[in-house]
C-alpha cells in the first residue's frame, strides 16, 4: 500500500513540476514561431492570389494578428488558462478538436513503431550478444548499421515500391480502405494492413539503436559477478541469459526508449507525409507551411506534455525494473 502511495505522491510531484516547465515551453515556442517570416494572412492571401491591403488587414484583425506580439502572447496564455487551445484560422475550427482528430492515429502509429523497435531490437541485440564476435553478430551489425544510416523517408519509399508496387501485398498509403465498412476482426486487419509499412519504416532506425544498445548492455552485464554465480548454480544458458543478463540489461534500454518518444514524433512528420497517414505529424507540417501558429503551438504543447508524461512513466518503470532505485 505504501508503495502505491509513494507512486501517487511521486506522480503528483511530477504534475506540479510540469506546470512551470510547460509555461516556459509555450512562451519559448511562441517567440520562436514569431521569428519565422510571414503569418497566416500572408499565406491565405498568397493562395487566393488577389488580396488587397484592406483584405489582408481584415484577415489579421479577424485572426487577432494585428495586436502587438506581447498582447498576442497574453491572449494565447489567457486562452490556455481557460483550457482552450485557440481557434485555427486556416482550418476554421478549434485547435483542440483538430488535434483530437489526428492524435489517436499518431499515437497508434508511434506505439506500434516503438513496440516493433523494442521487440526486434531486443531479439537482434540478444542474438548479437550471444554470438559476439562471430558470424551472426557481424551480419547483424552490418544490418543495424544500414538501418541506422539510411534516412526514414527513403526506407519508406523503398518499402512502398517493394510491398505495394511490385508485390501488391500492402496498401501504399492512407489509414483504411475508403468506403469499406468493416468491423470486428476484418476492420482490425484492414487497419493493421495500412499501419504495417509506416510503422516499420518509423521503427527501423530505432531497431538499429536498440539492437546495438542491447548488445553492448548485455555484454557488460555478462561480465558481472552475479552472472558467474548463476552459471555456478548450474542454470541453463537460456535462463542465465534471460533471467540474469537480459533482465539487467533492460534498465538502460528503457531509459533510452523513454527519451525516444519525443524524437519519434519528429520522425512521424516524415513518415506520415510519405504514407499520407492522417496524423499529428502531417498536421504539424501543414501548419508550418500555412503559418498556422495556433495549431502548431497546440501540437508543440501537447508533445511536451506527452514527453513529460512518458518520462514520469519511465521513471516508475525503472523503479520496478531496478529495486535499488527508490520511488521518491
Amino acid at each position: 500500500m505504501s508503495s502505491l502511495g509513494k507512486i501517487g505522491s511521486s506522480l503528483r510531484r511530477t504534475a506540479i513540476q510540469a506546470v512551470p516547465t510547460v509555461i516556459g515551453i509555450v512562451i519559448l515556442n511562441f517567440f520562436l514561431l514569431q521569428m519565422a517570416p510571414g503569418d497566416a494572412a500572408d499565406v491565405i492571401a498568397g493562395e487566393a492570389g488577389s488580396a488587397t491591403e484592406e483584405t489582408m488587414h481584415a484577415l489579421r484583425v479577424q485572426f487577432g494578428l494585428n495586436h502587438p506580439v506581447l498582447v498576442q502572447l497574453y491572449n494565447y496564455l489567457n486562452e490556455l488558462a481557460h483550457f482552450s487551445l485557440g481557434f485555427s484560422p486556416r482550418y476554421g475550427m478549434p485547435v483542440a478538436e483538430l488535434i483530437g482528430q489526428r492524435l489517436p492515429g499518431t499515437l497508434l502509429l508511434m506505439s506500434l513503431a516503438l513496440g516493433i523497435a523494442l521487440f526486434i531490437g531486443l531479439v537482434l541485440g540478444s542474438v548479437m550478444a550471444i554470438f559476439a564476435g562471430r558470424l551472426p553478430d557481424r551480419v547483424l551489425s552490418v544490418l543495424a548499421l544500414v538501418f541506422y544510416s539510411v534516412p526514414g523517408f527513403w526506407i519508406g519509399l523503398m518499402l512502398i515500391i517493394l510491398f505495394s508496387v511490385t508485390l501488391g501485398w500492402l496498401p501504399s498509403g492512407g489509414a483504411g480502405t475508403i468506403g469499406a465498412d468493416l468491423s470486428g476482426w476484418a476492420g482490425l486487419w484492414d487497419k493493421a494492413r495500412y499501419m504495417i509499412l509506416p510503422a516499420t519504416s518509423l521503427a527501423l532506425f530505432y531497431v538499429a539503436i536498440y539492437a546495438r544498445l542491447t548488445r553492448a548492455s548485455m555484454l557488460e552485464v555478462k561480465s558481472q559477478d552475479f552472472v558467474r554465480t548463476a552459471r555456478a548454480k548450474g542454470l541453463s544458458p537460456f535462463s542465465v541469459t534471460v533471467h540474469h543478463v537480459l533482465r539487467n540489461a533492460l534498465i538502460p534500454i528503457t531509459t533510452l526508449a523513454g527519451m525516444h518518444i519525443g524524437s519519434m514524433l519528429g520522425g512521424a512528420v516524415v513518415v506520415e507525409t510519405v504514407y499520407s497517414w492522417p496524423g499529428l505529424g502531417r498536421l504539424a507540417y501543414e501548419a508550418v507551411m500555412g503559418r498556422d501558429f495556433t495549431v502548431l503551438l497546440g501540437i508543440l504543447l501537447l508533445s511536451s506534455l506527452l514527453v513529460i508524461a512518458v518520462n514520469a512513466a519511465v521513471d516508475l518503470l525503472q523503479t520496478f525494473l531496478d529495486p535499488r532505485i527508490g520511488v521518491r
Binding site: 559477478d225 558467474r228 554465480t229 548454480k233 548450474g234 539487467n248 534498465i251 527508490g326
Partner: protein
C-alpha cells in the same frame, strides 16, 4: 566405509594455459591435490599464482579459450571434456562455489529468496512453494536473523556479511559434495569474517562436504583448514598439514610468506623491527629462487608530543542528508597528531573512519567542531587559502587501480600536483619527479609509462609518490595495503617507514587490519558507530583494552589467527 574415503575432489597434474596476443601464458602447471569428504583444504598464494583459475577450472567456468590438461575428478568423474549438459547437472548440485565479492555476486534485481529457489529448482523437482520453504530453512541454517523477512529482501537491503550468508545458503542448497570458497571473507570486516568462517566450518562438518578454501591469508589457513597447498606461478610449492604451517614449513617461499606476514600475537613494531621482504628471482632457465631479506631497523626520533600538533580535531561532527533524514557519520570526534607521530585509526566499514579522514582533508564539510592544522583553523577556509593548506596534507588511497588516471603517464600524474601548486618551471618539475621516483623505489624510466603497466604494489608506490610530491607534513593513508599481497604489503609498509624518516612525516593510518595497525602506529584510536570508543598507545590498546568493542575486535582477529 571405503567409499566415503574416496576423495570428493582429485586434481591430477592439472595444466592450464591461456592464449594471448603475446603467446600462451601458463596459469597452472602440474598441480595435484585432493580433498576428502568433510576435509578442509586451503589453496594459498598471492595474486596471479593460479589459485582462482584452479577453482574456476574445477567448476569449468573458465572462458572457452582456456586450454586444460590433466584430470579434475569431482566425486569420481573427470570434469574436463564433460558434455555441457552433464556439467550443468554437476554445478550447484555436486560442487558449488562462493566468491570474494558478496556485493556483486548476487543479482541486484531479484529477491534473495528467488535466487535460492532458482538454485534449488535447477536440480530438484520441487514446486515453487516447497522450494521457498526449503530456501527459508537454508537461510535459517546459515543463521540469518529474521529469515522469513530476508527471503523477500533485495541484495542491496542486506549487509555484506548477510549477503555472503545468502551466497552460502545458495551454494549448500543442494547439499554439494564439495564447496569451493574463493576468498570468501576478504571483503568483510574482522568480526564478520570470523563468523562466516565459523559457519563454513560448521557446515562442512554437518554436511560432510569437502571445503576448498582459496585465500592469500596465512593466519586464516592455519586456524580453519587441515591441509594447505602453497602455490606460486601456477605450481605447487609445497603441501603440508595446516598445523605445521607456521612451525614446520620447508619451502623457502612458504617461510618467506610467513616471515613477511604480520601477526597480532608477535607484537612487532616499526620502531624496533622492520618487516622481512621476499625477493623472488626469476632465473633465465625459468626456475625461481626465493630469498627472505631481513632489514635493520631505522632509528627514528620519538614523536614530538611537547610541541604543537600537526593537526588537531575538536568535537568534529559530519552529517549527510539522506532521504530518511540526516545521518551522522562522524560524531563528536577529537584527536591530535604530534609531529613525527603515526596515529592508527581502526574501525569496521561504516564506522566513519573514512569520512573522518575526508573531513580532516576538507573533502567533506564539517557540520560542527574545529579542525586546526599547524596552528591554523581550517574548518571553514575556502579557495586560495584552502589550496595553500592542502599542499601540506595529502592522501594515499586504498585502490591502487582506481585512484590513478589510466590515460596519464606516471610522470604526468606526479607533475600534476606541482603544476597546480605553481611550480612553473618544467625542468624543475621533472627533476622533482625523478627524485621522488627514486625515493619510492621505482625506476627512473617509469615516468613515461602508463599506470596499467605496473603491478598493484608498484601502483601503490606511485600513489605514495603523488602524495609526497609537495612535501606534505601530514599524510592520510586510507587502507593503503588492504588491496595488496602479503609480500607487497611488507614492502609498502617498509617504504612508509623509510619515507617517514627521510621526509619527517606524520601519518594518519586507517585500516581494518589490527596487526598492520599495531605494527605501524604509535598511538591507536578505535571508532565505532561514528564515535571514538577508545584511544591508547600501540602496546596498551592490545594488552589492556578498556572498551568491549576493542576486545571483540581483538578476539575476532586472534580467533582467526
Amino acid at each position: 566405509m571405503a567409499q566415503t574415503e574416496q576423495p570428493v575432489l582429485d586434481v591430477r597434474n592439472l595444466r592450464l594455459r591461456f592464449p594471448g596476443p603475446g603467446g600462451e601464458t601458463t596459469a597452472v602447471s602440474g598441480l595435484s591435490f585432493s580433498v576428502r569428504p568433510g576435509e578442509a583444504v586451503a589453496l594459498v598464494g598471492e595474486s596471479g599464482c593460479g589459485k582462482s583459475s584452479t577453482a574456476l577450472a574445477i567448476m569449468q567456468l573458465l572462458p572457452d579459450t582456456a586450454k586444460l590438461g590433466g584430470e579434475i575428478r569431482v566425486d569420481g568423474r573427470d570434469v574436463i571434456g564433460l558434455p555441457r549438459k552433464e556439467l550443468r547437472a554437476l554445478r550447484g548440485s555436486k560442487v558449488a562455489m562462493i566468491f570474494q565479492e558478496p556485493m556483486t555476486s548476487l543479482n541486484p534485481v531479484h529477491r534473495v529468496g528467488e535466487q535460492i529457489v532458482e538454485a534449488l529448482r535447477a536440480h530438484k523437482p520441487l514446486s515453487r512453494e516447497d522450494a521457498r520453504e526449503r530456501a527459508l530453512a537454508l537461510l535459517e541454517q546459515v543463521r540469518i536473523p529474521d529469515a522469513q523477512q530476508r527471503l523477500d529482501a533485495y541484495p542491496h537491503q542486506l549487509s555484506g556479511g548477510q549477503r555472503q550468508r545468502v551466497m552460502i545458503a545458495m551454494a549448500i542448497a543442494c547439499e554439494p559434495r564439495l564447496l569451493i570458497a574463493d576468498e570468501p571473507t576478504t571483503a568483510l570486516d574482522a568480526t564478520i569474517q570470523a563468523q562466516i568462517l565459523q559457519l563454513l566450518d560448521d557446515l562442512r562438518r554437518e554436511l560432510n562436504m569437502g571445503l576448498l578454501l582459496i585465500t592469500h591469508d596465512l593466519a586464516l589457513v592455519s586456524r580453519w583448514t587441515e591441509n594447505v597447498v602453497v602455490m606460486h606461478h601456477g605450481e605447487k610449492m609445497e603441501q603440508l598439514a595446516a598445523a605445521d604451517l607456521f612451525g614446520r614449513a620447508h619451502h623457502p617461499y612458504t617461510r618467506g610468506l610467513i616471515g613477511a606476514s604480520i601477526r597480532l600475537d608477535r607484537s612487532q613494531h616499526y620502531r624496533t623491527q622492520r618487516l622481512p621482504e621476499i625477493r623472488v628471482v626469476h632465473n633465465a632457465d625459468d626456475t625461481y629462487e626465493f630469498l627472505l631479506e631481513k632489514r635493520e631497523p631505522i632509528r627514528l626520533p620519538p614523536p614530538d608530543r611537547g610541541g604543537a600538533p600537526v593537526v588537531e580535531v575538536h568535537n568534529l561532527a559530519v552529517r549527510y542528508d539522506t532521504p530518511r533524514g540526516p545521518f551522522t557519520a562522524v560524531d563528536d570526534v577529537s584527536l591530535a597528531i604530534a609531529p613525527g607521530e603515526t596515529l592508527g585509526l581502526v574501525g569496521e566499514s561504516g564506522s566513519g573512519k573514512s569520512t573522518l579522514s575526508k573531513a580532516i582533508m576538507r573533502l567533506v564539510p564539517a557540520h560542527s567542531g574545529r579542525i586546526v592544522f599547524r596552528g591554523e583553523d581550517i574548518t571553514r577556509i575556502e579557495g586560495k587559502n584552502l589550496r595553500r593548506v592542502r599542499r601540506n596534507m595529502q592522501m594515499v588511497f586504498q585502490d591502487p587501480y582506481g585512484s590513478l588516471n589510466p590515460r596519464h603517464t606516471v610522470g604526468e600524474i606526479l607533475e600534476g600536483p606541482l603544476a597546480v601548486h605553481e611550480v612553473n618551471d618544467a625542468r624543475e618539475r621533472q627533476k622533482r619527479v625523478q627524485r621522488m621516483l627514486d625515493q619510492v623505489g621505482l625506476p627512473a624510466r617509469s615516468a613515461n609509462r602508463l599506470p596499467h603497466e605496473f603491478s598493484g604494489g608498484q601502483r601503490q608506490r606511485i600513489g605514495i609518490a603523488r602524495a609526497l610530491m609537495l612535501n606534505p607534513s601530514l599524510v592520510v593513508c586510507d587502507e593503503p595495503v588492504s588491496a595488496l599481497d602479503v609480500s607487497v604489503q611488507s614492502q609498502i609498509l617498509n617504504l612508509l617507514v623509510e619515507l617517514k624518516e627521510s621526509l619527517n612525516l606524520s601519518y594518519l593510518f586507517i585500516s581494518h587490519d589490527l596487526a598492520v595497525v599495531q605494527y605501524i602506529s604509535d598511538r591507536v584510536i578505535v571508532m565505532k558507530d561514528a564515535k571514538v570508543v577508545e584511544e591508547n598507545d600501540h602496546l596498551r590498546i592490545w594488552t589492556h583494552p578498556r572498551h568491549d568493542y576493542t576486545r571483540a575486535l581483538i578476539s575476532a582477529a586472534a580467533r582467526e589467527a
